[in-house]
Amino acid sequence: MSPAVDPLCSPIPRRPFDVGRVREDFPALHQRVQGKPLIYLDNAATTQKPRPVLEAIRRFYEQDCSNVHRGVHTLSQRATEAYERARETVRRFLNARSEEEIIFVRGTTEAINLVAHSFGRRYVRAGDEILISAMEHHSNIVPWQILCEETGARLRVAPINDDGELLLDEFERLLTARTRLVAITHLSNALGTIPPVREIIRLAHARGVPVLLDGAQAVAHVKVDVQELDCDFYAFSGHKLYGPTGIGVLYGKAEWLEAMPPYQGGGDMISSVTFEKTTYNRLPYKFEAGTPHIAGAIGLGAAIEYVATLGLDAIAAHERDLLIYATEAVSGIPGLRLIGTAREKASILSFTLEGIHPHDIGTILDHEGIAIRAGHHCAQPVMERFGVPATARVSFALYNTREEVDALVMALQKVREVFGL
């Protein structure tokens, strides 16, 4: 088991959380949109990037730009070291046992597709079942549908209640001798729900079923320790964690990754190739075919270090305060219906306004310099479950403030005025 120390705190000095100071680190926040100061509340789609991330990427391209794992020259050695250092940073962030278990991919979507393809090819047969939940993002639905179509397996969906909470008894009932894998979100992007993942993993493991967690939303808001969780796979994207787009991570327990066939073939993922036989490289390289997104990985490493200097617990406390404050503030707005009222939730406020379509809310808020998301959030089954075509979604990050929430509430009143309500 893991030691009791916070893996993020030990090597990196902490800095006290001061939202005013923190905002200074994010150049993109300091601009005007439609003549108003930008209020960025679309962080579940992607977050803004702090200076250390921008600088790390720039430093790589200006000084160390080279390919990894293949050159004897100095630049290639520097690039390889920086790339592998980023992997070690991710390992520490997730508290994985070994760097072998950290695979760099394009993002959550690719991570899930990798497992669907590779685990699926090895372990899933006709008549088997994959169990997901009713609050998944399309990227944790469609790869499994494709796998089911190809293999004749069946996709089962554990339902949720009117608050957007997983019905654990139903989940347990759907966990059968045919279940090959459970794939579930660690934080719903449409509802903000944090499902009881420890309980889910315990129930699944009791039947010998491995569990994949979609951590796309969770990593920026919830402390993740894959050994403590004991999940088998964990997927996340760099860009929702203050890092660059185009880079993400699949964590997998080494036992699974060793047993799974490669995902893509190419350079870097082999140790020897003849036309008769190819021997695959060791982990994690077996799953990293081709030149990786080196600058992206380095940028992600810098983002994780940035988050660690503030401390995920301090960030989570700040965001919890914002969510509670905002939930209370908007509840006074006539006709406002919250979609997603789970007891365990974080960072996301999804809602509808009676008589006003979320698209119109989005356009009018943009006019006030406020960026939110309006739509189905790539979670159409969730919209259907709640009987709405779309919602307006406010999502918080570490740099948001109570003043921004106040401005949001004023702007929502304005939306109602425009509509003569």
């Binding site: 698209h359 119109d360 356009t363 006019h367 309006a374 919209m383 075509p389 509509f419």
Partner: protein, 149 residues
């Protein structure tokens, strides 16, 4: 607020709240479904043709104020028109939204000219044209769902 009022004019809000010709057309002989995958908006256009003329038209669906008002006002402007006249109107409407319409086009559009305010919101152009694309599909007797993507 001024730009916003250009977009959300009284006429538009009125049509979005009380859409005209809303509902199923029982004796329709043409119909099509339109879909905007970006926002999940959906519209169904029903037509009863009298030879080449649109004898009756109704629509159903759900969506933002822009898409609902556009569908409602479209039904009013094409009822009684021939196929060719309706298509020509769609072409002018499209020119209005993409900013390529001349002044005479704008005057031909009549009430529909209020949608000029959408021009400043490029992502909303699809909302305004969804019903028209669906009408086009219904006229062409295309059975499939049209999509604005």
């Amino acid at each position: 607020m001024n730009d916003l009022r250009d977009l959300y004019q009284e006429v538009l809000l009125d049509h979005s709240k009380r859409p005209r010709n809303f509902g199923v057309l029982a004796d329709a002989d043409h119909q099509a479904v339109g879909h905007n995958p970006l926002c999940g908006d959906k519209v169904v256009v029903y037509l009863r043709m009298d030879g080449d003329r649109i004898a009756d038209i109704r629509f159903q669906g759900q969506g933002c104020a822009v898409s609902q008002a556009s569908a409602s006002m479209m039904t009013e402007s094409v009822k009684g028109k021939t196929r060719a006249e309706a298509e020509a109107l769609f072409k002018r409407f499209h020119e209005l939204l993409t900013g390529t319409a001349g002044p005479e086009t704008v005057s031909e559009l009549g009430k529909l000219a209020i949608f000029a305010g959408v021009r400043k919101y490029p992502v909303r152009v699809k909302c305004a044209t969804l019903a028209w694309h669906t009408l086009h599909a219904a006229l062409a007797r295309k059975a499939e769902t049209v999509s604005t993507e």
